[in-house]
Symmetry: none
Subunit: 410 residues, 2 copies
């Protein structure tokens, strides 16, 4: 089974948007045992979209066309697919009503062009849209198939997982199962992990499955992806479980989570299991720690709040600090304790540092002090992170939460 990707959008060719969708689709196809040998980007031009789909369909059994399904005049993927199929577009009343209902629910008038999204090539099956307005399409062409999916990433991801990948696997008659597991780590660099796991990697290469890949993912940690191929789910999971045990033995408490477990979800779960609540005082991260924690849906039973004390005198006033350098161990200590007290929490976590571009209090960009106060027992750690502002703030969040995690594990 071969499947190609055609990404549609002039903005992709002009480099205004990087086409991350195709990369993500490629990853999913590989993980599902479907070969993918070509990916194409083409602009919002009917003739060229038709040409790209036709070429792809000649080479492969399936084509995923991504983007160009919106309501505006330059969204012409539907027209292109109908052309390739040699059929007319027809208004799907069910889809049209869903779009009308969506606007009505938001009490907004619906511009008429939105109904373009309800046009469906005759013979195509609609993939219900659950997050936006444009539905996806499954369009048979003789024994082959064209899928159309929205270019908005979260809409695409949801539709791929729910409808397109299952349909592809079904058509492929895929009997092997391929299962992945991600171990998330913090504490070592990607090359450091590769060096520590060199023997293990060599052994897996001889063995053939599972495979192992590293992926540095910023605030998400460094991921180790294990992918096992086996005759059934039980066998694949057994391979993954065995390899996970071996990796954990080597990496110890650097492994903080599995699959979708983020550092913040793990820390919240640890606090919850211990019956502890958390208050945060953040300066350099400006609210990022709170934002990440509250991205976890059930954070509210643990997370009390965060004081973003960006101005120095706000720190002094709210945390009863003596005026002095705010990028310091003393400040981190006062902020952690202050957060615990002001927010009425059992545990206080503080971050103060320099994101750059300039130094502050004689400290270089990249400097971070993290304070943790667990029931009055305070610890402070000093770290030196990257001096690049955005990355520094991201890395600061996961580093601080990791320090709290390590203390909670004791």
């Amino acid at each position: 089974m071969r499947c190609e990707v055609v990404a549609v959008g002039t903005e992709l060719l002009l480099g205004q948007i990087v086409d991350t969708n195709s990369s993500w689709i490629g990853e999913q196809l590989a993980a599902n045992g479907i070969d993918s040998y070509h990916q194409t980007k083409v602009g919002d031009n009917l003739e060229r979209i038709v040409g790209a789909i036709r070429s792809a369909l000649q080479r492969s059994d399936a084509v995923i066309v991504c983007g160009g399904l919106g309501p505006t005049h330059d969204d012409i993927t539907r027209e292109a697919i109908a052309d390739v199929m040699g059929v007319p577009l027809e208004l799907d009343e069910h889809v049209a009503n869903a779009i009308r209902a969506m606007f009505a629910a938001r009490s907004r008038p619906m511009p008429e062009n939105n109904l373009r999204q309800a046009l469906v090539p005759r013979g195509a099956v609609v993939i219900e849209q659950r997050r936006g307005t444009a539905p996806g399409l499954i369009c048979p062409v003789d024994a082959k198939v064209i899928y159309a999916a929205p270019g908005v990433p979260h809409e695409l991801f949801e539709m791929m997982e729910r409808a397109i990948l299952p349909d592809l696997r079904n058509r492929a008659g895929e009997t092997h199962v391929i299962v992945s597991r991600v171990l998330r780590t913090w504490g070592d660099s990607e090359s450091g992990l590769a060096a520590r796991l060199a023997d293990r990697i060599e052994r897996l290469e001889i063995q053939g499955t599972p495979t192992l890949a590293f992926l540095a993912s910023g605030i998400e940690g460094i991921k180790i992806r294990l992918t096992a191929k086996a005759v059934d789910l039980a066998a694949a999971h057994a391979l993954l479980a065995e390899e996970e045990v071996a990796l954990r033995a080597e990496l110890g408490d650097q492994v903080f989570g599995v699959d979708d477990q983020t550092m913040e979800s793990v820390v919240l779960a640890m606090l919850r299991s211990k019956g502890l609540t958390l208050g945060v005082a953040e300066s350099v991260t400006g609210g990022l720690v709170g934002a990440r924690l509250t991205a976890v849906p059930d954070a509210s039973d643990v997370f009390r709040g965060s004081i973003v004390s960006y101005a120095n005198d706000v720190k002094f006033a709210l945390f009863d600090m003596r005026p002095g350098p705010v990028v310091s161990a003393d400040a981190a200590r006062a902020m952690a304790t202050g957060a615990r007290r002001v927010l009425g929490a059992a545990v206080g976590l503080s971050l103060t540092g320099v994101a750059g571009p300039s130094e502050q209090d004689g400290r270089a960009p990249g400097t971070l002090f993290v304070g943790t106060d667990i029931g009055g027992e305070v610890e402070v750690n000093e770290l030196m992170l990257t001096p690049h502002r955005d990355q520094m703030r991201q890395i600061a969040v996961i580093s601080a939460l990791n320090l709290l995690r390590l203390r909670l594990e004791l």
Copy 2:
């Protein structure tokens, strides 16, 4: 003059690396007035690379092949180009000596496979490599041309700017320049904007330049990109300026920024110009407003801080609120005023709402109350946003900042 990009590498198809090179090349081609209608990714397979280059060369006058020039057995771009040209590969002694000298300078033994990089299709011109080992190639095919460039981004960028773009412009006899400008808007949907601007879009389509495209970008707003083609920079900028005036006349205060101006940078600049400071009280967004504001490097002279009052009793205690429903106009009012007072700011901004998945205080997911307190004058707005947790929080940030912007504009 048409030029395509063929990016070579199995890791691109598998999604292990996102192909940012093609995006960057696309941007450069556009900026140099060279049309680019297709970009292709293909794996490390001779037959398929040859096929991709042949297809590209049929459609276009020039092809930039990016990647596959390294020393290892899967670097076969040279072989593929020689095949397309119908000529043999020959060792270029000058290049071979340069590679030998590079290893000698680093006192490292040279693995013999490095000399693969000195193989040049007969009739091709070498582009000297100044940063790594693999040179680039200019390979004439009748009146058309294939360029080969390394996949390592900084090597590619340097070679494009020094050799490939000048050669392309020269072949194109290109005298036109292409310039873009982005207007950022908030207040209308993408389809709503399209409907409002329908006459304008039709007129531009007849006129041919500038072109206009919409791009919904979440927390970055909905972007309207104008792209003008003209004989020189001055003429292109004049076209953009004229169109910007027309769009602003139609859209009014929905246009909040141009190019890289974000909603938060615009709000910070307005506050700064009025000598005002800002304090935030956020609940549903958990710190996102503060995080976005402090992503702007010079935020500290305006932004005092944010109180992330996630737990209800934290709201009651810190903002002197009477206990009651916290997703309400009264709560938004108390929080805006409380933020101003607690953080010692001239302006207070508050957000309280329901991100979901469950309802709260009898309010549905998507509900948002925004309070703005400018020197004691308080206003509260109620909005209904998308019920999806992540997007709701993102949209809440830009919506709240936009409400503050509109008040500051009065």
